[in-house]
């Protein structure tokens, strides 16, 4: 299966050069458009699991080529890699969940300002604070936080 990196170069936003869309992708992209309009209007987020749709690898490649690649890329190492990039359409993210063997678990289009998996939740923030405090104390900080 091709990697996401091979689909389209970063910053490819030249819509004039795009190939015609295969039929099955048109309603899918309308769903994306509807979700993006909702994100703009009231901040509502949406996700589409491409892995659960009857799209073969070629169609998925064509879809990813159509939406292109934007400026942001991230890789998360938790239970195997998760690769995230923003498409050339701002607010439309591609989140590729893989297991430890690099087999795909899910492939989401996430329409959001930031994908959920990139955000840090409150409990993890608290744990981070405790860790920093412990580190400061362990390093002999003369004015430990109260």
């Amino acid at each position: 299966m091709p990697t996401l990196e091979s689909i389209a170069p970063a910053g490819d936003t030249d819509t004039d050069a795009l190939p015609p869309l295969p039929g099955p992708l048109v309603p899918l992209l309308h769903e994306v458009r509807h979700a993006l309009a909702r994100l703009v209007a009231d901040g509502g987020e949406h996700r589409i699991d491409l892995h659960a749709l009857p799209l073969d690898a070629t169609l998925i490649d064509q879809l990813l080529a159509f939406i292109g690649r934007g400026e942001v890329e991230a890789r998360i190492e938790a239970m195997g890699p998760t690769r995230v990039h923003e498409s050339a359409i701002a607010g439309v993210w591609v989140v590729d969940y893989r297991d430890a063997d690099d087999q795909r678990l899910a492939l989401h289009l996430e329409i959001a300002t930031v994908p959920q998996i990139l955000r840090t939740d409150r409990a993890t923030l608290s744990a981070g604070l405790q860790r920093l405090d412990a580190g400061l104390a362990g390093a002999g900080d003369p004015s430990p936080p109260s």
Partner: protein, 365 residues
Amino acid sequence: MAASQTLAEQLRAQGVSRRGFLKFCAATASLMALPPSLIPRIAEALEAARRPSVIWLSFQECTGCTESLTRSHAPTLEGLIFEAISLDYHHTLQAASGEAAEAARLQAMRDNAGAYLVVVDGSIPGPEANPGYSTVAGHSNHAILMETVEHAAAVIAVGTCAAFGGLPRAAPNPTGARAVMELVHDKPIVNISGCPPIPMAITGVLAHYLTFGRLPELDAYRRPLAFFGESIHDRCYRRPFYDRGLFAESFDDEGARQGWCLYRLGCKGPTTYNACATQRWNGGTSWPIEAGHPCLGCSEPAFWDAGGFYRAVSVPPRVNAAALLGAGAAGAALGAGTALAARHLTRDEQQHREPVTVEELEKKL
């Protein structure tokens, strides 16, 4: 690991981070064919879920169903779901043997009365059959099944043998093999058919139970709709060739090389409900039709006796959609009567079966 641990606590104890947990939830949603918008709800439910006791009974089976699960593609996800249950008895996987193994089963039944799940693979010689055909620790399969399900919360029949009788029940059914739902009448039953079943369907049902504390929505044959709600034909990537009348006529002709529809080579996709087309096999690598072989219909009742794997599906003239739906509805209502109704219907229609051409079929469609 403490049985009182929630799944989230258990995952954290295994070093799984919050992001890893969210990934687990995303994969679980994909597994259960739930919309990704439900991921926050799944995360919330799994945070608080407690691990259920599972007793796995193997009867007249080939261990292919267990192999399907334990050799499944995503070891991390499958492993986590499998770890999330307390598997208290399983012939192939347990370390204990002999009396200690049976004692573990009885102990789990006592400790979790009314709350444990029973997973069955393999068909069971019925109460009227010679019990010597299949025994465990000197007890007949039937006696063990009935004893074990008595205080179970639900029963999950894994594989076509447990769901519909499978190969042991194929004519002439020498062991008097029966399906679980023909023998167990007073418990919720889920059938995860397939020979073997798709591993994600097995873990999907377990994950659904962990998430929502109940079994998923089922079809008339008691199969989870998330995995058996659509026919192979409807989800097949070769479907456009069928619609255009382009068929492979042999396994090495130009049509086969071009990847055309395998209908005329006996593909049972139009009458088979399963998730192979979307979930695929071997790590999502491929599935039988993509490998060039027609679907055998292994997740349907009596598929061994359906008239030959390489005969094109025909539409019996006396069967219509209403009759099939009626049989299904009757099965849903009557529980154990489902497989029986299907068997009678199949046998009856086999006697009246008349092949039709693709052109005739398309006219009807």
